[in-house]
């Protein structure tokens, strides 16, 4: 008990109170902690969507027999393709695909009925290949739909002897926001964490109050710790904000351990704060901090797998991403939330994250202290 009172009495505690007061008085900081994370989370969740549906289809049906019409309706039946236009000529069709007004063009030749009678008919399909990924998936769908349609010609062949039973683990409905939301949680923590901590340290330098702090009986450690602790709590608030938004708006599942999630998130918060303090010690002014933070944040976010999967990157970038703490944090969040796995699976990522937290915190504290003395 006595010890606790001593703690409350200590200069450390009054420093913490000073920091908290300073933060609460700073309206801009509070806005910064709430608005950009919310906006980013919602926009990434809603706007980034890799679904391949409602592709615009243009058909020229020279044959115009029941079989060709059935084929077209088979293609458009499940909204992967929507019949957008019926161009008058091949030239018209190809122009519309070229200009990006149609995604897919189909030409059914005039002698389609005769070819069908000979059991070898060919139709032409053009797909706009500018978006390589969508085009690949669309081509696959075209093949499948036509194969299915072919089966209807063969009597008594409703089901095939070998079927593929596909089970999507973790995200059976293929909801795209479930991939992006954990990524954006990491992204937001990185952006806000580095910025907020850097700015609070630098402001003290800018206004010259750092020297005054040094005159007080507190040790350098206490000054720094008093700065870090309240920020860490605020940033954990951001973690919870993001999680709540994700669960309510995007019905993101939470399958793993909540405690583990909190513990590892706070570890990442320390990584973000240390990066910020390092930036602050390197830079002289707030403006420099803001601008140099681009050099750190941009590469960190882009090689983390927040937006595009790491597995799709070229090997060199996959290797570089191992040195990116954000990559490990996002893997952890996706693991805990979507996969429901624990330390037995994530231990390597956790170790890496811990390593980054310790190393970065030590370096930033050292730099900060050497700057003070």
């Amino acid at each position: 008990m006595k010890y606790i009172w001593r703690l409350f009495d200590s200069p450390f505690w009054s420093l913490v109170r000073k920091e908290i007061n300073q933060i609460l008085r700073n309206r801009q900081l509070i806005v910064l902690l709430i608005v950009p994370p919310t906006v980013q989370l919602l926009l990434y969740g809603f706007a980034l969507n890799p679904d391949v549906h409602n592709l615009r289809l243009g058909v020229i049906d020279y044959a115009n027999i029941s079989a060709s019409r059935e084929l077209v309706s088979a293609m458009t039946s499940n909204h992967t393709f929507n019949l957008e236009s019926i161009p008058t000529s091949e030239k018209d069709l190809s122009r519309q695909v070229e200009e990006g007004k149609l995604d897919v063009g189909v030409i059914i030749p005039p002698d389609f009925p005769r070819q069908l009678a000979n059991k070898s008919a060919e139709i032409q399909v053009f797909i706009d290949g500018v978006n390589a990924n969508t085009a690949g998936i669309a081509a696959n769908y075209v093949n499948q739909i036509i194969q299915q349609y072919n089966l209807t010609f063969v009597q008594n062949q409703v089901s095939t002897p070998v079927s593929t039973e596909v089970i999507f683990l973790y995200n059976p409905g293929l909801t795209s926001s479930w991939f992006f939301v954990p990524g954006v949680m990491g992204l937001v923590l990185t952006l806000i964490g580095t910025l907020v901590s850097a700015v609070t340290v630098v402001r003290e330098k800018d206004t010259g109050t750092l020297e005054q702090l040094l005159m007080t009986p507190s040790t350098n450690w206490e000054i720094l710790l008093a700065k870090i602790v309240p920020l860490a709590f605020l940033l954990m608030g951001d973690v919870l904000l993001a999680l709540t938004l994700g669960t309510i708006v995007f019905s993101l599942p939470f399958r793993g351990s909540f405690l583990l999630f909190l513990a590892l998130s706070s570890m990442y918060v320390f990584v973000g704060i240390s990066l910020g303090i390092m930036l602050a010690t390197i830079c002289g002014s707030q403006q420099q901090v803001l601008l140099t933070s681009f050099f750190i944040n941009l590469p960190m976010i882009q090689t983390s797998g927040a937006i595009s999967p790491i597995e799709a990157m070229p090997p060199l970038f996959q290797f570089l991403s191992l040195f990116n703490p954000l990559r490990h944090y996002i893997t952890i969040v996706r693991g805990i939330l979507l996969k429901g796995v624990g330390l037995d699976v994530l231990w390597l990522n956790v170790l890496a994250l811990l390593g980054f937290a310790v190393v970065l915190l030590t370096i930033s504290v050292q730099k900060f202290r050497s700057q003070l003395s």
Partner: protein, 368 residues
């Protein structure tokens, strides 16, 4: 007019003196181009795959052969005893294919059987790609083994236009120009505008005979010149590094880039006039800039996938129009007929941005 030029010259002189801003202006766009251009890829290659073959017959191994013949998968070792789902939990494999024990016996007896594919659907897009490949493998297998009568009565002749090799760089790199040239010129302009206010020198400007329009034109012209230099560097190096060159009449690209840079600079002026400190200006420009050019521009996924009320917002920002223009110039090659509307919209938006900035500034000049 003379005042506009002298304002422009003063601005460039000031810009050249600040090392950090100079680095920001040229190094950062290039760095962004490199990272985006190389690291943003959507489709996984060499997907780790585990096969559990409980059948172990010629039939099942010919199925597995077909699986690897796609060149999409890399085999991973997994001791058969544990449930294969553990391997996917651990991330050792993205997909596990399980062939049941009765596989060949069922097939020979004419009974229906199935191959199970467990797919890690954390990454929705690649889950879809993997499903497509495995279903295709099953179909090939059945045709190969004569299990289904030759059903290919109709065969589609599929051709992918513009990008038959499905190179993702052709899609990403032109889009990256739209991100880089939107964010950095507007950022620099906004900082310059706000700095004038922070340092208080804006009052001298108010007191001088220069009008709001002249001030904005002068600053805008200076940063437009800097932006043009940025564009030349980014696109020049981009074409060399990523082998993505203009395949059509370059006039649409030149005009489009010029208009887009004007939009970008005007947007920077607009934010700079409205905001009073550099911190907030950088925050706002980068937040709005990244959101509008990365998320609401069709840069990564098609614009048509954005749900309704949100889907209107991309129309209000120039990135989507400019990305249409770059993709046309570098990949499609239709020229004027394909992009005239985008060019028009870039001009309209630039006009709107600049005029709003002008209005705001003249109102401030009077009120102070």
């Amino acid at each position: 007019m003379k005042r506009v030029f002298s304002q422009c010259i003063k601005e460039i002189a000031q810009f050249r003196r600040d090392r950090l801003t100079l680095a920001l202006a040229f190094l950062l766009p290039f760095l962004t181009l490199l990272i985006f251009g190389f690291a943003i890829r959507l489709e996984s290659k060499d997907i780790p795959l585990i096969v559990q073959d409980f059948d172990r017959t010629n039939l099942s191994s010919s199925y597995i052969e077909r699986l690897y013949a796609t060149n999409q998968f890399v085999p991973q070792q997994w001791s058969g005893g544990n449930p294969v789902r553990d391997a996917i939990d651990k991330g050792i494999a993205k997909v596990a294919v399980v062939i049941p024990p009765q596989f060949s016996r069922d097939i020979q007896a004419g009974r229906n059987t199935s191959v199970q594919a467990l797919i890690d659907a954390t990454d929705v897009n690649n889950a879809r790609v993997i499903r497509g490949s495995i279903e295709r493998v099953t179909n090939f297998f059945m045709q190969d083994q004569g299990l289904i009568p030759d059903t290919s009565i109709i065969t589609p002749q599929i051709r992918l236009w513009f990008n038959p090799g499905r190179l993702e760089s052709l899609y990403i790199v032109p889009g990256t120009y739209g991100v880089v040239l939107w964010i950095f010129p507007s950022l620099l302009t906004a900082i310059a505008m706000v700095r004038e206010k922070e340092k208080g020198t804006i009052l001298q400007v108010y007191a001088s005979s220069i009008s709001a329009t002249e001030l904005l034109l002068g600053k805008g012209l200076a940063y437009l010149l800097i932006a043009i230099a940025e564009a030349l560097i980014v696109m020049g190096l981009g074409s060399i590094i990523f082998h993505v060159g203009v395949i059509t009449n370059p006039m649409t690209l030149l005009l489009g880039t010029l208009l887009f840079l004007m939009d970008s600079v005007s947007f920077g002026l607009l934010v700079g006039v409205r905001i009073s400190n550099q911190n907030s200006a950088v925050q706002i420009v980068s937040l709005v800039g990244f959101i509008t050019s990365l998320l609401l521009s069709g840069f990564i996924y098609p614009l048509s996938n954005i749900p309704f009320p949100l889907s209107l917002t991309p129309n209000l920002f120039p990135s989507r129009y400019y990305i249409d223009i770059t993709r046309d110039a570098f990949v499609r090659g239709t020229g004027w007929t394909g992009v005239w509307f985008d060019l028009l919209m870039l001009a309209v938006l630039g006009f709107v941005f600049f005029n709003v900035a002008r209005r705001l500034l003249s109102r401030m000049q009077i009120s102070q």
